[in-house]
């Protein structure tokens, strides 16, 4: 992934003008919701969950066939995360940032509506190395899909609204060291809205 990302950026930014002219860009702001990062049982059940996370998404896509495009999407989100045990107060555990890079394909569904599916990497980057992140950040594989709705609002600018679903399996170095086995399936749903610029 480290090699692919600079390659894509250089290809798009430093490529021939004809290639650049075909690239669609978009920038979006939205919110990401996620299922529990972890479920544990110490006397009673405990759940660790991220709060609703403000999210910035940057995307670029290149046509690869008459109706299909290959794209790269970068998403950065930041939110608090907390633990909750039945009958006990919710405990704020700190702040964690997530950054994802996905390579995907998209194609038409209907007028203005496109599907997207991709795979990538997701980085959890806590602001403090403590608790489940005591041994620092963790990177996980990610798979996801979604839909984009795009509608022209100016000569070269479109409004874009996106809905994304993705899935990854969460664990950390600290959890493995503590004897947690397997990993937690985490599903995320993100809704965002922004501007897209592309060729017509």
């Amino acid at each position: 992934m480290r090699a692919i990302l600079p390659f894509m950026v250089l290809t798009i930014a430093g490529g021939p003008p004809a290639l650049q002219a075909q690239v669609d860009y978009n920038a979006r702001l939205g919110l990401t919701w996620a299922t529990a990062l972890l479920r544990d049982d110490v006397i009673g059940g405990i759940e660790v969950r991220q709060k609703l996370a403000p999210t910035l998404v940057l995307g670029a896509a290149l046509p690869i066939a008459p109706r299909y495009r290959a794209g790269l999407e970068l998403a950065v989100a930041t939110s608090g995360y907390q633990s909750k045990q039945a009958g006990a107060p919710t405990v704020d555990l700190g702040t964690v940032r997530t950054g994802s890079v996905t390579l995907g394909l998209d194609g038409p569904v209907a007028q203005g509506l496109r599907w997207r599916a991709g795979v990538g990497l997701l980085l959890y980057w806590p602001t403090e190395d403590r608790g489940i992140f005591l041994r620092g950040r963790t990177t996980r594989f990610l798979a996801g899909a979604g839909i984009d709705y795009q509608r022209p609002i100016m000569a070269q600018w479109d409004m874009i609204a996106s809905l994304r679903y993705d899935f990854h399996r969460f664990t950390t170095e600290e959890l493995r060291a503590r004897g947690f086995s397997q990993s937690q399936g985490v599903q995320r749903v993100a809704a965002s809205i922004g501007l897209a610029r592309g060729h017509r």
Partner: protein, 218 residues
């Protein structure tokens, strides 16, 4: 939308959802030892409530105690996954929940539960927990004593002071009993310098069990 396109979308969406059913498997923590103080039929157990965190700890500026206490706080904070305990050092002993001093513990009164530790040759420690007349409420501060038996500059004394301070802070956190296992820092005469998985599991259980003692405001 054509049928094959719709099917492709359904597959893309449902595949990850199916994979997401399994959960992470938590460790059993069955290796924890008894942390409560049992006197006759009375069980004394305690942990600092979330509303009192971070626990304020004052250390006497002698025999490297502030550094040992900082280390001890970090060790115990790292024992927990879910923010159950946090400690902070304070410069004013009059607001401290826990006071750590050097020297031998003074003779205790009837209300004091003394958790004595360590028969190591280089140093010794004790923790005093004072209860109110009902025997149900801890009256802060909890007092920790760590005493170097010899010149602190002699080999082994500083290491002994460090592990004894962490051990005594464990008592101040609510681990009122000693581990029967020599590999644990909460063993009565510990030789290890860091918390063992058993120490961590015990601390976790202590902080997720309803305590029989509460703590009065400071």
């Amino acid at each position: 939308m054509s049928l094959h396109r719709l099917l492709a979308l359904v597959c893309l969406a449902s595949g990850p959802a199916l994979l997401s059913c399994a959960d992470i498997a938590a460790p059993s923590r069955s290796n924890a030892y008894e942390w409560r103080r049992i006197v006759g039929t009375t069980i004394q157990s305690f942990h600092w409530p979330q509303s009192r965190l971070p626990v304020r700890i004052w250390a006497e500026d002698a025999v490297n105690l502030p550094a040992h206490v900082r280390h001890g706080i970090a060790e115990w904070e790292a024992a927990f996954l879910y923010g159950e305990f946090r400690g902070v050092m304070v410069s004013d002993s009059s607001v401290a929940d826990v006071i750590v001093t050097s020297g031998i513990a003074p003779p205790g009164s009837f209300s004091i539960t003394r958790l004595e530790s360590l028969m190591a040759p280089e140093c010794q420690g004790a923790t005093d927990v004072e209860l109110d007349a009902t025997g149900k409420v801890i009256l802060p501060p909890i007092r920790v004593y760590v005493d170097p038996r010899f010149d602190p500059s002699l080999p082994g004394v500083d290491e002994c002071m460090a592990l004894t301070t962490t051990h005594e802070l464990g008592h101040a956190l609510g681990i009122f009993a000693h581990s029967p296992n020599v590999d644990d820092l909460m063993y009565s005469d510990p030789v290890v310098t860091t918390l063992s998985p058993r120490d961590r599991a015990t601390a976790e259980l202590a902080y997720h069990t309803e305590p029989t003692l509460t703590v009065a405001p400071r």
